[in-house]
């Protein structure tokens, strides 16, 4: 204790002086004693000095008793480490920058991974929440959509759930529902829930009350709203309770506000209550179901029971013949789309850190070898080998600590940026991005990095041959061990880089191919007005009336729109392209084809359109005719248009015109009057699907979105559109999109991945090149004499260059071989993320080889030149 106090009070200098005085006194007395015994003064001093045995050591020994030795020594080491690093600023900053970037990358990726994949969902008892999904036994396909009657049977027959709930699946509900709040028409994400929805998720209200099972059963016109939505539209949660709004044409009252941050499912703004109809179609999979397992019930047990129930249903109902049930932990279901990419990024950043650390290890070792003489002297002077090794560790530690702190800061900034920009933003809304888990990770990888690149140099120093080291011209470290070990490192680095470069190349090519994919329709200067015209479902007459109103609305709107200057053509379609409104395909029935079983029927995409749609979007009409306003409206015979793929797959390539199709077993038949070219409407990355178009003026389908092709500025058209629509019907909310923007956002994820992995790959390749460079430079330095001798004996500059570059290329080649093999094995995992390229695409692998080959040549260039420039005379004279 006294020691620390001494230290803190800074009495150190004083203590040193006192000690010197004390020892000096002892020395004087001894000298006096010897003189008194008959020795001469000089003799006495000499003997006294001998007896003293090393003033410095005595001092050291005493000093060590003053304070807690470790603390003192650590402080000294720290000061010395900082001083040494300051002397070689270039090295310190270079290493620091590399390390900061590598650490930051890892921290960012991990924090996202942690928030999305590792942390539990922010609901009470989240680990007991499961999604109940449909498993098709003939294909093994699993879909999250379930049917109403199935859900009701599960609810009645199972006892493994404490609570169950169902809500309309996103494929069949609109997540942008027209809502009128006060006098404003807005889009809201409305979810229709039944059962004990809020109970299953353990939610309590922030204001008012949340919906209950009774609300669903009694069909009350009540909704609960999300916290943020309430604040945006009413100022506060409390203010929202009791207000009346019109949701999709129906008048409802807000009875409560959910807790802040709760937006399940899919970012819901408003929750309505609606019972699952028990007279629904068992083949209509329009719901999603979740349940909370009873405490004490294991997932396997619940799964078994549900399977049994599903088997019984399969026996009883033909529609269920091919269905079974599967329970998926809710977290898994929600994170499924991002799991692959996230792990890919984590591995990539880990690889980069590994390469960086091994690079730095090599560099530090080289420095240790250079400073060998200095270190030997210090060790000989009494610092002790352990102390010197400790000093090296301290240097590495300072570098790592500084880089770690900088990396953490950089990571924090980057995640802020990512939240604003990346496609992952929706999953991160609620998550804390820099929490204790992330800090722990940051510290762990920093320590790992530190260990990996200080341990070996420190060990080498401990084995220094001190005596020989002090003699000039000797080698402190056996030349065999050093370069061999570092060469292996370089090979490893090259291999790792190759894997990353190949992965990046594949992703990049996928992205480029996607960018140039043949869509089948125009992309230029097409503006979309996304709208929802509400339909009143309170009675059949109201339904009829509003449907007719909707048809008239769109007809009038299109009329006015076509008269706007600059608009070449305009038309409407039920769903926006580019994955903005992904819809499931529907079963198709063809008149004259044999009856098919549920689950095995041909499927097709289904859209309602206005006349001129194909002309507006540049989709070629291949046979027959387009819809017309006069011939294809309500009350006229039902007509349809199909695309080429439909003809090929659903109709088996037979003549299409005149055939009749329908999409449910009881509806009217629709006659095919036209065939159009294929269009990748829903996802640019997927091959064109069979598609069926019907005229929207028959009243069928949901609300249309309008597409307009303009020869003028898209922005001007946007505001014109909005005015037009507001004038016609102010209760219809609008959002304007351009085809270009939709396309960009459809490609957002592939672009993001290609860029980020590309960045990592470039970084890794650079680091590998630097590693190669330092190994070659070291080698040239070690073999100076030999090279000089060769030159003196007549070797040409070219020969020397060839030697060095050859060595570099040899190392690279070995690394390449390893890396390419590993890449071949691993890139298979990327398959889900690629488009248009196979994981073993030869061109990409060749490209990666070329990139690293060039990098290797560049890396070898400088050392080769230096080797060639060695003046034989001076080198041979050197010691």
């Amino acid at each position: 204790m006294r020691g620390i106090l001494n230290h803190l009070r800074g009495r150190r200098a004083q203590l040193d002086r006192d000690l010197d005085r004390e020892l000096a006194y002892h020395f004087e007395r001894r000298v006096a004693e010897l003189v008194a015994g008959g020795a001469s003064h000089a003799e006495a001093r000499r003997r006294a000095n001998l007896e003293l045995g090393g003033l410095a050591q005595v001092r050291e020994a005493v000093r060590e008793t003053w304070t807690w030795p470790t603390l003192d020594a650590l402080a000294l080491d720290l000061r010395y480490a900082i001083r040494t690093l300051r002397k070689s600023r270039g090295f310190a900053y270079g290493v620091g920058a590399v390390l900061t970037l590598a650490l930051a990358a890892n921290i960012v990726v991990f924090s996202v991974l942690n928030a999305v994949l590792l942390e539990p969902l922010p609901y009470p008892n989240a680990e007991r929440l499961v999604a109940i999904e449909t498993l098709w036994t003939n294909t093994g396909r699993v879909t999250p959509d379930v049917s109403g009657p199935d859900y009701l049977d599960w609810q009645a027959q199972s006892d493994v759930f404490a609570a169950m709930a169902a809500f309309y699946s996103n494929d069949y509900s609109n997540d942008e529902v027209p809502t009128v709040v006060g006098d404003r028409a807005v889009f809201a994400n409305v979810q229709s829930t039944s059962g004990d929805f809020f109970g299953v998720l353990g939610q309590s209200a922030a204001a008012g009350r949340l919906l209950t099972e009774r609300d669903a059963e009694e069909g009350v016109a009540a909704v609960a709203v999300a916290y943020d939505w309430a604040v945006t539209h009413f100022g506060s949660a409390d203010a929202a309770v009791g207000k009346r709004i019109r949701v999709y044409g129906g008048d409802t009252e807000i009875v409560g506000v959910a807790a802040p941050g709760f937006r399940y499912p899919d970012g819901a703004d408003i929750w309505g209550a609606g019972a699952v109809a028990n007279d629904g179609d068992r083949a209509d999979h329009v719901y999603r179901a979740v349940g909370r397992l009873r405490s004490g019930v294991a997932l396997a047990e619940a799964q078994a029971q549900m399977r049994t129930i599903a088997a019984a249903l399969a026996e009883e109902y033909p529609a269920n013949r091919l269905k079974s049930t599967i329970l998926v932990p809710l977290k898994e279901q929600l994170t499924e789309p991002v799991r692959g990419p996230l792990w890919l990024l984590m591995i990539a950043s880990g690889a980069v850190l590994l390469i960086a650390s091994t690079n730095i290890a090599g560099l530090l070792l080289a420095r240790a070898t250079e400073r060998a003489r200095e270190l030997a002297v210090r060790a000989a002077l009494g610092a002790g080998r352990a102390r010197v090794a400790r000093q090296l560790l301290m240097e590495g530690g300072v570098l790592v600590a500084a880089s770690g702190a900088a990396g953490l800061l950089l990571a924090w900034l980057t995640t802020r940026l990512l939240l604003a920009l990346s496609p992952l933003a929706s999953l991160l809304e609620d998550a804390r991005l820099v929490g204790p888990g992330v800090l722990l990770f940051a510290v762990s990888i920093s320590l790992l990095a530190l260990v990996s690149f200080t341990v070996v140099p420190a060990l080498r120093v401990s084995r220094l041959d001190l005596m020989n080291g002090l003699r000039s011209g000797s080698k402190l470290v056996t030349p065999g061990g050093g370069p061999r070990w570092r060469s292996t490192l370089v090979i490893g680095q090259v291999a790792l880089s190759v894997v990353l470069v190949v992965a990046a190349g594949l992703l990049l090519r996928s992205f480029v191919l996607l960018q140039h994919v043949e869509l089948g329709y125009t992309r230029d200067r097409v503006v979309f007005a996304y709208m929802q015209h509400a339909v009143d479902e309170s009675s059949p007459e109201a339904h009829d009336r509003t449907i007719r109103a909707r048809i008239d609305f769109y007809a009038e709107l299109l009329e006015r729109l076509r008269r706007v200057p600059g608009v070449g053509a305009a038309a409407g379609i039920t769903f926006l392209p580019m994955g903005k409104e992904v819809r499931a395909t529907r079963d198709m029935f063809v008149d004259g084809q044999p009856a098919t079983q549920f689950g095995e029927r041909p499927q097709a995409e289904f859209y309602a359109i206005t006349p001129d749609f194909f002309a507006t979007l540049g989709i070629p009409l291949l046979a027959g005719r387009d819809f017309s306003a006069t011939m294809d409206t309500r009350g006229r015979p039902e007509t349809a248009i199909v695309n080429e793929t439909f003809v090929r797959t659903v109709l088996g390539g037979q003549a299409a015109l005149g055939q009749r199709v329908r999409w449910n077993e009881r509806g009217p038949w629709w006659e095919i009057v036209g065939i159009v070219g294929d269009a990748r409407w829903q996802a640019p990355g997927l091959p064109p699907q069979p598609t069926l178009f019907v005229p929207s003026f028959t009243g069928i389908g949901t609300s249309l979105s309008l597409a307009a092709r303009t020869s003028l500025d898209e922005g001007a058209l946007a505001s014109t559109l909005q005015t037009l629509i507001r004038d016609l019907n102010p209760t219809v909310p609008v959002r304007i999109e351009t085809m270009d923007r939709l396309f960009d956002s459809a490609l957002a994820r592939p672009r993001f991945l290609a860029l980020v992995v590309g960045g990592f790959a470039a970084f890794a390749a650079l680091l590998a090149a630097v590693g190669l460079f330092s190994v070659l430079a070291y080698m040239v330095g070690q073999r100076r004499r030999e090279l000089a001798l060769r030159q003196a004996l007549g070797a040409q500059v070219a020969d020397v260059l060839k030697m060095v570059v050859g060595q570099g290329l040899r190392l690279t080649a070995v690394g390449l071989v390893f890396g390419l093999v590993v890449a071949l094995a691993l890139t298979r995992l990327l398959e889900g993320l690629l488009y248009g390229v196979a994981p073993w695409d030869a061109a990409t692998y060749a490209g990666a080889t070329a990139v690293l080959g060039v990098a290797a040549m560049l890396a070898a260039f400088l050392p080769a030149r230096r080797a060639a420039a060695i003046a034989p005379a001076t080198a041979l004279q050197e010691d």
Binding site: Y25, V58, T65
Partner: protein, 111 residues
């Protein structure tokens, strides 16, 4: 003069220093002299061991130090036993007695 230097364990040296100082304060040189004289030159401690020991004992608050004029007229650092030091000495003496008795017993067995 032939010097017989027995390596003295650190703990024993501490005990001996405490004992010397129990007879009165002294400086480092004096302690060394006293040890040599009293033990008839068997215990000759060098500065590399003596001063670290003294400082260590001071750290543990068993000794208190003070700069005074010495017998030669120059200033020297005198060490004196503290109350805690006296207690420590008593304990160490007891341990030493027990140990040496035990060692004697074992040797007697063998004889």
């Amino acid at each position: 003069m032939p010097s017989l230097r027995f390596p003295i364990p650190q703990g024993t040296l501490d005990m001996l220093i405490l004992q010397i100082l129990s007879l009165g304060p002294a400086h480092g040189y004096g302690i060394g002299q006293r040890l040599a004289q009293t033990s008839r030159d068997v215990v000759q401690v060098n500065q590399g061991s003596l001063y670290p020991a003294l400082h260590r004992l001071e750290q543990k608050s068993w000794l208190a130090a003070e700069w005074r004029i010495s017998e030669t007229g120059r200033e020297a650092k005198f060490y004196a036993l503290t109350r805690a030091g006296r207690k420590q000495l008593k304990e160490e003496k007891a341990s030493w007695d027990r140990l040496s008795t035990a060692v004697d017993l074992i040797f007697a067995e063998g004889a």
